[in-house]
Structure formats: structure tokens, C-alpha cells
């Protein structure tokens, strides 16, 4: 039986975070009353002209450099001509022949921690369209009596990222998308919110015999509105195509829509509509000359990127893939963690606190850890005290609660209140003797072979010492005395 390999390419549209729209001064903000964030330019009134947003161009360079893409010295805007009611000019200003970035690759990882790479064909800059609202009960175009158009989104800067067909499973596709998302958030160039439409993606899916290097016929999957639905849609589409081919059929090239409710894709356009977009350079916009000094200054200012951080956490700090991913998901939390590690010198124990007790408190208090009164140097002190066995885990837990409450340095608390754990036999023995005297029955039980009472007796010593006795030493001394 033939083994099938799936081949997936992803096209993403990502709205860039800028103050103003791509070609006019209107605010680039999500939502608002319809048609309140519009002007002659983004409404395409007669005579209005576009002027390119410099910040959007810089964001593109940022994205390109983050993925190791080439940033050509010249770039141009082209017009993509087609009629659509929510596209005010009836052409979209896009980039065709000379995009701002070419090539590059997205490095991503899977749940097991393995690093992968998917090359980018290009990232180019374009403008978003408005939104059609179809009046009528269904909210769809079919059966509606008329449509209304909201142009607030028209002209919002949009980055299109096109991957090479180098992803081979739904997991890889999600890994790729998550890496894109984390990188854009880290660079501060997009909010990347699928629910607000600031990230939209289509997947090109095909299958081929495992040994083959030729591409099979692809289907383009649309209408996926969360990473989860991307995952489900790709799995369902791969299964559909394998079933067709195995039952002797052929996959046809088409656009398919993902139906979240039904859990399957369906034909949207049975035959690929051959659009002739009549691309040509937009004569209203001068070519972009990309200043080399600007590129270098952006390159120098790039933050540590998610895949770099992942490699550092996994390699040097030896965190688990899950821990590393959690700390990368929120770069500020990662920075906080890094500060804890440099204060403590212990990565794993720092991760345990930051992602364990502290994360739980942050969650309960609906506050980010880095906004709480707990300073990384305090976490560092705590970790050092635990590692050096100055305090035991119970005291550590209490200290965490008090640090959260604003009591400051845990070392100072331990010092002030004499909470340091004792391993000194001279200090511990009197507690043991006292407990053995008060629990004669248990002592007899132990000597009769019921060794499980040892735990109880150790617990009593801990209680009597207010938690300060080192439990390991207590147990050792107890065995000797009972022995």
C-alpha cells in the first residue's frame, strides 16, 4: 500500500500595527462605527492619491531581517486590478515584481522540541479592503437583499507572507504559524489576532507518494478562523485527498472552504477562476529606495527572536520544550525569567517557580508576574536559598505568598524571622527526643516492624521545629535513635 506524504504551503495576511493606514492619515484601529475612519484617499474619491506609510515599510524590513530575507535596494508598488465592491479603487495597491523582501526562512519547533525550517517565497506589502455586510437573515451574500460596506479597514497596511510548499503535516503548519505569530508580536509589528482578522491564512494542500519529489495537484483551503481550525482543516483535507486517490480518483485543483461545524472542506470555486489582474507599477507612487543605513540600524536593533530564545532555553538552560515555549509565548515573561536566572544561577528551579507557584498566583490575581511586586532578584534569592537548602520547600511556598503580598526580599524575611532550615544535629536532636517521648506507641509500632510510622514521626519533628529542621537530617537521626 502506498505511503502518502502531504505537502502544505501557507499564505498569511497580517495587518501591520501602525498609527495610520498604509496610504493615508486615517487611524489604523480595529472596530468603530462603520465608515468613521475614512478620508478621500481610502474611499478612493476622485482625485485622491496614495502616500506610502514609512513605518509600514520599516516593519516589513524588520520582518524580512528576522527571517533572514534579502532586502533589495529598490522596491515598487504595483496595482492589482479587479472589481470588488469593498475595494474602493477597484484595484489593490500591492507588490508584484519587486517586493520589499525576498526569500528567507521561518524556523519553528514542534511539541517534542525538534527545530524545523520552512523557506519563505516572499513577504510583500499591500493594503486591506473594506468589509461587506450582507443584509438579510443569513448574513451571507446569497439570499441577502442588499449589502452595506464598511471602509474603516480599507487601506490598513497588510503584509502577505507566502511560504514555500515545505510543510508536511498539520502539526508543522501550526508550528510554522505559531513561529510567525510569535515573531511578529516580538517585533511589535502586528497584534496577530485571528479573531479580529489581523491574521488571516489560506493553506495550499496536496499529497504525493512518499518517495516522490513532484508536487501533486493542490487545493487551496480558505475560511479558517483559528489555529485549531487550520489544524483540523488540513488533517481533513489530507484525509480527503488520500481517500480520493486510493479509490482511483484524481484531486482537482480548486478552492475549498473549511466548514467548522461539519468538520470538512467543501468546494467553493469548482474551477479555478482565471483572474487576469493586469499588474503594473502604480504610477501614483514612486519606487521605494531602501536606505542601507536604515536596514542596518533595524538589523542592529532586532530583539532576540523566538527561535533563538528557544535554542538558548533548550540548549544552555536545558528547559523542557513545554517550559521553553511557555516562556517564549510571552516575551516579557521570558525577560523576567532571564532576570531570575541571572540572579539565581539556576535555570530549572527558576522555571519551576516562574511557571509554577508564581504563574498560579499571577493567574489567580489576573496580573502579569512582571507587573507584580515580586522582583526577579527576590526570586533569585529564593531559588538560591532552596538550592543551598537554607530553606525547605514548605517555607519556600510561604515565602512566595508573602513576596506576592509585597513583603519584599525573601532573604531578609528568613533572616529576620529565623526561618533558615537547620541541619545542625545539636539543634535537631532535642526536637527528636521530645517527639519520641511524646509518642511511645508509635515508637513501639516501629520497633514491631510497622516502619510506615516513620513519616508521621518525622512530620511531628518538622512541626515542633516550625518547619526549620532539615527533613533529610531528621529522618537520618530518627532511624539511628530508633534503630
Amino acid at each position: 500500500m502506498t505511503q502518502w506524504e502531504s505537502v502544505i504551503g501557507i499564505e498569511c495576511h497580517v495587518e501591520l500595527k501602525t498609527n495610520s493606514k498604509m496610504f493615508c492619515a486615517c487611524p489604523n484601529e480595529f472596530g468603530g462605527e462603520p465608515n468613521t475612519k475614512v478620508c478621500p484617499v481610502c474611499l478612493a474619491l476622485p482625485g485622491a492619491l496614495p502616500v506610502a506609510n514609512k513605518i509600514a515599510i520599516e516593519h516589513m524590513i524588520r520582518a524580512g531581517l528576522a527571517f533572514g530575507a534579502e532586502i533589495p535596494e529598490f522596491s515598487k508598488f504595483d496595482r492589482k486590478n479587479y472589481f470588488y465592491p469593498d475595494m474602493p479603487k477597484d484595484y489593490q495597491i500591492s507588490q508584484y515584481a519587486m517586493p520589499l523582501t525576498q526569500g528567507g526562512a521561518v524556523r519553528y519547533w514542534l511539541a517534542d522540541g525538534s527545530m524545523k525550517e520552512c523557506r519563505l517565497t516572499r513577504i510583500h506589502l499591500e493594503e486591506d479592503t473594506g468589509k461587506s455586510l450582507h443584509a438579510g437573515t443569513t448574513g451571507r451574500i446569497a439570499g441577502s437583499s442588499h449589502s452595506l460596506i464598511d471602509f474603516n479597514r480599507a487601506g490598513v497596511p497588510l503584509m502577505e507572507c507566502v511560504s514555500e510548499p515545505e510543510l508536511h503535516s498539520a502539526d508543522e503548519a501550526i508550528g510554522y504559524l505559531e513561529a510567525l505569530k510569535r515573531t511578529f508580536v516580538q517585533l511589535g509589528i502586528s497584534d496577530v489576532k485571528m479573531e479580529e482578522g489581523s491574521l488571516r491564512c489560506d493553506a495550499n494542500v496536496s499529497i504525493r507518494p512518499a518517495a516522490s519529489t513532484e508536487l501533486g495537484t493542490k487545493a487551496e483551503i480558505k475560511n479558517m478562523n483559528s489555529f485549531r481550525s487550520v489544524h483540523r482543516a488540513i488533517e481533513s483535507e489530507i484525509a480527503r485527498q488520500i481517500e480520493i486517490v486510493q479509490s482511483g480518483g484524481r484531486v482537482v485543483q480548486e478552492t475549498r472552504g473549511w466548514d467548522e461545524g461539519a468538520g470538512r472542506t467543501h468546494t467553493m470555486r469548482s474551477k479555478e477562476q482565471t483572474h487576469d489582474y493586469r499588474y503594473f507599477p502604480d504610477p501614483d507612487l514612486v519606487p521605494v529606495e531602501v536606505d542601507r543605513e536604515l536596514v542596518e540600524s533595524i538589523r542592529t536593533a532586532l530583539p532576540e527572536l523566538p527561535h533563538e530564545r528557544f535554542a538558548r532555553y533548550r540548549g544552555h538552560l536545558k528547559l523542557t520544550p513545554a517550559q521553553a515555549t511557555q516562556l517564549i509565548e510571552d516575551a516579557a515573561l521570558g525577560d523576567y525569567f532571564d532576570a531570575c536566572v541571572s540572579a539565581s544561577g539556576h535555570a530549572q528551579q527558576s522555571a519551576n517557580f516562574v511557571l509554577g507557584d508564581l504563574a498560579r498566583l499571577a493567574n489567580e490575581n489576573r496580573m502579569a508576574l512582571y507587573d507584580s511586586p515580586v522582583r526577579p532578584e527576590h526570586v533569585g534569592e529564593l531559588v538560591r536559598m532552596v538550592e543551598s537548602k537554607t530553606i525547605n520547600s514548605k517555607i519556600a511556598k510561604d515565602l512566595i505568598a508573602r513576596m506576592w503580598a509585597g513583603d519584599g526580599s525573601p532573604a531578609a524575611i528568613v533572616e529576620r524571622e529565623g526561618l533558615a532550615q537547620s541541619s545542625d544535629v545539636g539543634t535537631i536532636d532535642p526536637f527528636i527526643d521530645e517527639v519520641l517521648r511524646a509518642n511511645e506507641k508509635s515508637v513501639m509500632d516501629f520497633r514491631a516492624g510497622k516502619t510506615n510510622v516513620l513519616g508521621f514521626l518525622v512530620g511531628q519533628v518538622m512541626k515542633a521545629s516550625a518547619g526549620k529542621a532539615n527533613p533529610r537530617i531528621v529522618q537520618e537521626r530518627m532511624r539511628e535513635k530508633l534503630g
Binding site: P40, L45, P46, G47, L49, A52, N81, Y91, P283, L285
Partner: protein, 490 residues
């Protein structure tokens, strides 16, 4: 003192500024002339009586408050493809319906800030596509010097308004000759600055890489004044050039000594008939008499200008005019679905010449034809620009006809190609983005004409040579005084 409507913009602005006459009186005299003659000329699609009166009062108040304005009280005709907030803007088309512009074009705004007063929106060939104003869906404009003839186009309304004293100056737009040809036909000066000198923001696009706003005026000095007020970088137009505008009004000169003027070998005026040939030979001789050295120059690729232009301009227009779709403004003819609505709206809204160019342009940009037509045309455009560069190594300015004939009668150019040929001498400069103007150079007896018809001498210079060009044109104008020969037919 000469009647108000006969005075130049420079004279009027000085007199209004000195409170010798009020802006209100200037405007009333102009509106009276419009009321008297525009019924027979048809220069304006929309006259702006009320707005002009209100503006005149505002200018008088600014004068009273001590403000100095270079165009104080000057009545201006604005071609109806430029937006002026609160006024109907039609482009000479049906497709815009009664659309009221909600904003003002930068060039028009600069005129208004300098004290200029728009008195009407002037007629044009639909979307500036034509050379006679006959392509307007908003009425006929007659040549004020010969009412049975066209005023030229596409800025024919502004040219006719200025010639018939219904405005002191007019604003036109020139894509392939649309300021220079009507200026020649109506016996006035028309000036197209270097591409990018005047902002296109608010000028309804025909062909974005060629369109340029410029003045029409009865004197070269007025043209220089209007140009100076309008020119300069505009943050709303990325193609507007960020470069200082040298003072043009003070560059006027009285002779042409030290100037080398190129006569283009390929523009043989002998082909234009004996009378026209003689007229241009006389004009060239007059340039020499003023001290210019005449040199022969060659523009070997200029003959391909027309073919090149009729690929690039329609290609851009096919895309620029897509937005007139019935969705957001202007005419809408309903249909069963949005596709049918588009088709019906555009079928009813655009005239035949506009449709022809949209079709040509759509074809030229189509997959499979793009390289053969659009890309090749862009290459030829570069060659034409290089020809000019080479020619300007041997001369400072080029002199040639502005049009191959004087104004013709209505319906005389029944096939599109003979109409396109009217721009034979003006298109190459447009493709090269060069500044060029037409200045009156006498008259000829046209075919079947009862009266002498004006002709224009075209002068063209290298990029950004506006001052040299206007200065030389002024010297020729002052020495020849051809405008004085022209008699209004109204």
C-alpha cells in the same frame, strides 16, 4: 484705465492689494461678462456666482486686515477635473452625476490662499481625453475667436474662458497636449510645467504618469505668476517633486541673447502646408532677431511618441477609471447583481472615447500582451526622453509648432486617429516629463474659415527649466505682440 476684464492678473492683484479696486468689483465685472457671453461660448459647465461673490468679500476682508496676496481678487477658471470643495465636479462625464467634491485640490487651494477666486468649473473632453472638447457629455464649448470652431482640448473650457475674458487666468491639465493645444487654438498662452512640479492631489486622474496641472493666461507673465503660486512639493502627492521653485515672474526677459534654440529636424513644418510653414519660419526668424542662435537638433524617436502615448495613457486610465463603479458616488444604474450594476453603470456613464481608451488600456495590460505593449511602450518612452537629453546638450530650448493646424470645425475629425494626430507635437514632451508652453505666434486662414485663426509656437526646455522657458516666451511675446491681432467673435 482699461476695463477690469481686460487687465492681467498681475495688474489686478496689485490694484486690489492697493485698494484701488475691490475684489468684489473685479468679480462682479467678471460675472457680468460670463452672463453676457457664456451663452454663446459655453466655457463653463458650472458657474460659481454665489461662491465667487462670497470669496470676493473674504478677499476684501483679508486686504482690509493688511494681508498681502499675490492673486488678490483674480478671477480663475478651474477645469472641471479638479476638486473644489462644495462644487459639482463632473470631468465632463455623466458617470459622476452631480457629485459634489468634499475637498479641494492642492493646486486650487494654493490659488485660493493667494487670493485667487474660482468663478467657474470649465468644460473639458470627458476625463481630459480629447483635443476639441467635443467629447464632453456636459455641452459644447465654442472657440471665442470663431464660434463655428472648437476651442481645442481637453482644457478647452479654460482656454475659451480666458480668451473671452470670462476669467483672467485658467487652470488646465496637460497629459499629452491638453493645455498647449487649446491655448494655441484660442490665442492664449498655455504652460505645462515639468511633471511633478504641481501637485496632482485633487486632479481627477486620466494618466497618472503624464498628468500635470498648469496655467492658461493672456500673458506669459500671468502664466508665470500662476505657476509660481501653484508649484512646489505637496505631501499629499508622492510624485510631486521636493525641490525649490525658482521665482519665475522675475525671470522675464526682453531678448534671447545667448540662448541656443533647437529646431527639430523631424518636425518639418513643410508638411503642414505653405501658409503654416511660412508662419513658423517667420516665428523662428523672430527668435533669431531677438538674439537666439538657432541650431538644428534631432529627435529620432519622437515620431513614435503618438503610438507610445496611446498605450501608456490608456493603460493607466483603464485602472484609474475603475473606481467609477456606481458603488460609492456618482451615477448608478441598478442591475440584478453587483456585476450587472457595474456593467450598466459604466455603459451608461462613460462616453465612446473613454470606453475606447479603457478597452485599449485593458488589452495592453493583459497577460500575454503586457510585455509586447505596455513594457515596450515604457522602453520607447525612455528612448524619447534620452533623445531630448541629447538634444539639450546642443541647445537650451526647443521651438516647434504647438499643433499641426489651427482650430477646426465641429465634427471635422470624425475618426479617432485624425484627432489623436492633433497632439503629434506635444506628446513627446509629455512622455519625457518636460516643461513646455504654447505662446501666440500669429494666425493663418484656416480651411473654410472666414477669419484668421490663431496659431501657437511651442517652446520646450529641459526638466525644471521653467524660468528659462517662461523668460524666453515673454521676450518673444513682447516683441511680436501677436495676441493683439486676435479678435473675439462675440
Amino acid at each position: 484705465m482699461r476695463p477690469v476684464i481686460e487687465q492681467s492678473a498681475a495688474e489686478l492683484a496689485r490694484a486690489v492689494g492697493a485698494k484701488e479696486i475691490s475684489a468684489r468689483d473685479v468679480i462682479e465685472a467678471t460675472l457680468a461678462q460670463i452672463d453676457a457671453v457664456d451663452g454663446s461660448v459655453g466655457a463653463y459647465i458650472t458657474s460659481l456666482h454665489e461662491m465667487a461673490r462670497a470669496s470676493a468679500l473674504a478677499v476684501d476682508r483679508r486686504i482690509a486686515a493688511g494681508e498681502k496676496m499675490r492673486l488678490a481678487g483674480v478671477p480663475v477658471a478651474v477645469k472641471d477635473n479638479m476638486c473644489l470643495a462644495g462644487t459639482r465636479t463632473t470631468c465632463g462625464s455623466k458617470i459622476l452625476g452631480d457629485w459634489i467634491a468634499p475637498y479641494t485640490a492642492t493646486a486650487v487651494q494654493r490659488i485660493i490662499e493667494a487670493g485667487g477666486i474660482p468663478v467657474g468649473k470649465s468644460n473639458l473632453d470627458e476625463f481630459a481625453m480629447g483635443s476639441s472638447c467635443e467629447n464632453s457629455a456636459r455641452g459644447i464649448t465654442r472657440n471665442p475667436l470663431a464660434l463655428d470652431r472648437v476651442p481645442g482640448g481637453s482644457s478647452g473650457g479654460s482656454a475659451a474662458a480666458v480668451a473671452s475674458r470670462q476669467a483672467v487666468v485658467g487652470l488646465g491639465s496637460d497629459t499629452g497636449g491638453s493645455i498647449r493645444e487649446p491655448a494655441a487654438f484660442c490665442g492664449v498662452t498655455g504652460f505645462k510645467p515639468t511633471y511633478g512640479r504641481v501637485s496632482r492631489y485633487g486632479l481627477i486622474a486620466f494618466a497618472s504618469s503624464l498628468d500635470q496641472i498648469g496655467p492658461l493666461a493672456r500673458t506669459v507673465e500671468d502664466a508665470a505668476l500662476i505657476y509660481e503660486v501653484m508649484a512646489g512639493h505637496d505631501g499629499m502627492d508622492s510624485t510631486s517633486i521636493d525641490r525649490d521653485v525658482e521665482p519665475a515672474v522675475t525671470a522675464m526677459r526682453s531678448d534671447l541673447r545667448g540662448l541656443r534654440i533647437g529646431i527639430v529636424k523631424e518636425f518639418d513644418t513643410g508638411k503642414l502646408g505653405h501658409e503654416i510653414d511660412a508662419l513658423y519660419k517667420r516665428a523662428f526668424a523672430d527668435l533669431r532677431k531677438l538674439g537666439a542662435d538657432l541650431v538644428d537638433v534631432s529627435l529620432p524617436t519622437a515620431e513614435f511618441g503618438l503610438a507610445t502615448y496611446y498605450l501608456i495613457a490608456p493603460a493607466e486610465c483603464s485602472s484609474n477609471l475603475a473606481r467609477f463603479d456606481g458603488v460609492r458616488y456618482g451615477l448608478r444604474v441598478d442591475g440584478a447583481d453587483v456585476g450587472e450594476m457595474y456593467e450598466r453603470t459604466r455603459a451608461a456613464g462613460f462616453g465612446p472615447e473613454v470606453k475606447r481608451r479603457i478597452l485599449i488600456g485593458t488589452y495592453a495590460l493583459s497577460s500575454g500582451y503586457y510585455d509586447a505593449y505596455y513594457v515596450k511602450a515604457q522602453k520607447v518612452r525612455t528612448l524619447i526622453a534620452r533623445d531630448f537629453q541629447r538634444a539639450f546638450e546642443e541647445c537650451d530650448l526647443i521651438a516647434c509648432p504647438a499643433a499641426s493646424s489651427p482650430a477646426f470645425g465641429f465634427n471635422a475629425k470624425s475618426d479617432p486617429y485624425s484627432m489623436y494626430l492633433m497632439d503629434y507635437y506635444t506628446i513627446p514632451m509629455s512622455l519625457a516629463g518636460l516643461p513646455a508652453l504654447s505662446v501666440p505666434c500669429g494666425s493663418v486662414t484656416g480651411e473654410g474659415a472666414h477669419e484668421p485663426l490663431p496659431m501657437g509656437l511651442q517652446l520646450c526646455g529641459p526638466l525644471f527649466s521653467e524660468c528659462a522657458l517662461l523668460g524666453a516666451a515673454h521676450a518673444y511675446e513682447q516683441a511680436s505682440q501677436h495676441a493683439k491681432e486676435y479678435k473675439l467673435a462675440i
